[in-house]
Symmetry: C2
Subunit: 327 residues, 2 copies
């Protein structure tokens, strides 16, 4: 078994991009279907995806279970798995956790930069950890098979989530803080808390998460992967590229600002650099995915390790964590 | 294979009723989860069922596919299939048809007594037939595997739905008009249009649909079934008892009035008899289901025919019509 999986993208989806997924040999992609959208708005995003599944049955299919990754692979398509970067789709209603799992959601971030009803985001000054509702929702997510994703959460909240959760959690898209001191990257104790409970982290190629930013080289990125794998064990890591291909800058503004402020918040950007950052030369589209394998080979990984990082680790994680705890 | 299936109930659900389902040997029940509720309100009803599934895993389970009837049978439980008596859960959004199929809905009436966005109800003075949106929604229901149910629809609309639909449709709960001239019962040309396209009708035990009302005897009911089976063929019929056990009269008022009028509408009742009618002595709870078999035997059905009427016909219908047309 060798699968290619990207565990986080939010592109301006089109037939072109679906064709690039096929060109890049992606068997599965975890796509974001909510940043700030409430329940009904996120359902509209599901409806949009259903139209794409109907219009492009030769390129993509809805992903629900790990077995769909295999099915997609065997039929030359890419399985699309849904996730949220914010718990806004469950609003204040824990019953929506199971409803969303039924609708195909497989990852939910407990926060997106800000404090949520569940936990604290990585841009808040204070991090009081999991809330009362947060603990209840994690238990319910564990029960139904919706994975806790702490990519945009603050550190204490993330460590508490990893400990409180009875099933492994994920950081779908981030890099080690020790490599590049960005607010979204994760310090040693956070990574340890996640991986020691069987959790996974996906390496991000979003320039603000890279040492050197847009100028980060493929070799530099892959050397970081090698160093991280050596430190924590290769089995806990995959790719979560955070590819936001073809999105206008109004979208990164929506991600950062949503409806929570009337002012501009630059997030990881700045007044001088408010839009999407320029991608590194070696990763512009899904078709560039095979390049990562070349880079990993160059820094000394063997074929088995490369396959694990490129998708097989995520595949095993999907196998264990998407099914209900009683199923 | 011998399954017992009731293809329409709307009880005031409780553990007692779930135990009576087991006592009556029901392998599957199609339950109404919306009369007038909009999308979000109907999702709340799904959430309530999810709690019951969680609380009573030894008695009931969620039904999605015909195979779940078998699974329920083999594990001594009753599979619960969701349906709507009104298209209100899709509001004005055709994309919600597939969303609802994902959430487990398997039957949707195009109307409940009144004109809807899709077709005409059986209490309107005029029946102009399927609307533009109605035709589109039937096609979408055919695609995803959501069965068109015309129990509360007007006759022309029903015949047009049977003809327009590329897959068989259902009248889950009604009786022949020729037996009892109630507005909700179905004349010969309607029954013919439904069954000649492979459709099914479930016999109702709701007193307003019975010749003699609450005083209808088991023998009279079963003789009607025998006459109907002889006229149209036994393979097209099952039970849709319309059991509304333990419901307060405020619920039948909600069914009839919803939010569409400020006046009282008595529907099949009257000012003198505004509440739920008294059940016939031979059918009060799910535990009475085996009595129907005795009654069917008495009017001359053989064991195979009894099994077909008591559930196997519905089972075969579920097998064919709950799956997507491309699956």
């Amino acid at each position: 078994m060798t699968y290619r999986i990207d565990c986080l993208q939010y592109c301006n989806w089109s037939e072109d991009i679906f064709r690039q997924m096929r060109e890049g040999g992606l068997d599965a992609v975890h796509v974001t279907i909510s940043y700030h959208e409430n329940f009904r708005e996120t359902v509209l995003n599901v409806e949009q995806w259903n139209r794409w599944f109907e219009q492009h049955p030769d390129l993509i299919m809805k992903g629900r279970w790990a077995s769909d990754v295999k099915l997609a692979h065997d039929t030359g398509r890419t399985a699309i798995f849904f996730g949220f970067q914010n718990p806004s789709p469950i609003e204040d209603d824990i019953g929506l956790v199971e409803v969303w799992h039924d609708l195909g959601a497989r990852f939910m971030q407990l926060t997106y930069n800000n404090q949520s009803l569940l936990a604290t985001g990585c841009y808040e000054d204070e991090d009081p950890g999991l809330t009362r509702m947060g603990k209840q929702v994690i238990r319910e997510m564990n029960r139904v098979g919706l994975v806790v994703d702490m990519s945009h959460s603050a550190d204490r909240s993330t460590i508490e989530a990893a400990d409180h959760s009875e099933r492994p959690i994920a950081i779908t898209h981030a890099n080690p803080f020790d490599w590049h001191a960005a607010r979204r990257n994760k310090p040693d104790d956070v990574i340890r808390a996640v991986v020691q409970n069987g959790g996974m982290m996906g390496f991000s190629i979003y320039p603000h998460h890279l040492a050197g930013g847009s100028d980060c080289t493929l070799k530099g990125f892959c050397q970081m992967i090698a160093d991280t794998a050596e430190r924590y064990g290769v089995t806990h890591f995959g790719i979560g590229s955070d590819l936001c291909q073809n999105q206008p800058d109004s979208v990164v503004e929506w991600m950062r600002v949503g409806r929570w402020t009337k002012e501009i918040d630059y997030g990881e950007g700045s007044a001088a650099n408010p839009g999407f950052p320029k991608q590194p030369y070696w990763f512009h589209t899904n078709a560039d995915f095979p390049r990562l394998e070349e880079g990993l080979k160059e820094v000394g990984f063997n074929a088995r390790e490369i396959a694990d990082i490129m998708g097989d680790n995520w595949f095993r994680f999907f196998e264990k964590n998407f099914v209900p705890s009683d199923g």
